[in-house]
Symmetry: C2
Subunit: 112 residues, 2 copies
C-alpha cells in the first residue's frame, strides 16, 4: 500500500480501534494488524504521534499504568471522540462512494 493512501484516514481507524474499550499504543498496533489480517502493520512512528494528536484534540484520553514492570498508557474514547468517530464514518461512506464511482468511470462526461 502506498504511504499516502492512508493520509487523512488514520484517525478514524484509531478511534474505531478504541471503540470496544481502552487499549495502550502497542496494543493498538497489534489490534490493527490482527483486524486487517496483517495488511496494516503500522510503525510506532506513525501510531504514537497520532495518538498524541488525538489526545491533544480531546478525542481520546490516556492514563499511565504499570503491568509486568512495564509502563503503559491506556487510551479511551471521549464523548467528543465518539462523535468524531461517527462523523468519520459518515465522511468515509460519502468519500469512498465518490471515489468508487469516479474510478469506475461510467459517469464521465464525453470529452469535447
Amino acid at each position: 500500500m502506498r504511504a499516502e493512501s492512508l493520509k487523512g484516514h488514520l484517525d478514524g481507524l484509531l478511534l474505531a480501534c478504541l471503540e470496544p474499550g481502552p487499549r495502550h499504543g502497542y496494543a493498538v498496533i497489534e489490534a490493527l494488524r490482527e483486524a486487517t489480517g496483517g495488511q496494516l502493520d503500522l510503525p510506532t512512528g506513525t501510531v504514537y504521534p497520532a495518538l498524541h494528536r488525538l489526545e491533544a484534540a480531546r478525542l481520546i484520553s490516556g492514563r499511565w499504568s504499570v503491568a509486568d514492570g512495564r509502563r503503559r498508557r491506556s487510551y479511551h474514547l471521549t464523548a467528543k471522540g465518539r462523535r468524531a468517530l461517527n462523523s468519520e464514518r459518515a465522511d468515509w461512506r460519502a468519500f469512498s462512494a465518490m471515489i468508487s464511482t469516479a474510478l469506475d468511470g461510467r459517469l464521465w462526461p464525453n470529452p469535447a
Copy 2:
C-alpha cells in the same frame, strides 16, 4: 470534505477522468465536478500540478493546441498510464475494503 482525505487518491481520479478520451486541464476540473455531482470541485492549484506530475511520470502525455484564441494543453493516457489506472483501481478496492471493515468495527479483538 477534509483536505487530507484525497491524498494519494487524486492520481487515480485524474487517470480515470482521461480514460474516455483526451481533456485539457480546465475540462478535467469540470468533468470531475460534473461526475461527482459537485462534490469534488478541485482548485486549479491542485489539478495543474497534479497533471504535471503525471506527465513527468509518463502516465499521461499532453500537447498544446489553440481553440477560440485560447491556448490549451490536452492530455491523454499513455500505455503506462492505463496500466497505472488498473493498478490504482485494484489498490483502491483493497484499501477501501480494509478501511470499511475496520471502521465498521466488527472484527476488533477484545481489549485485554
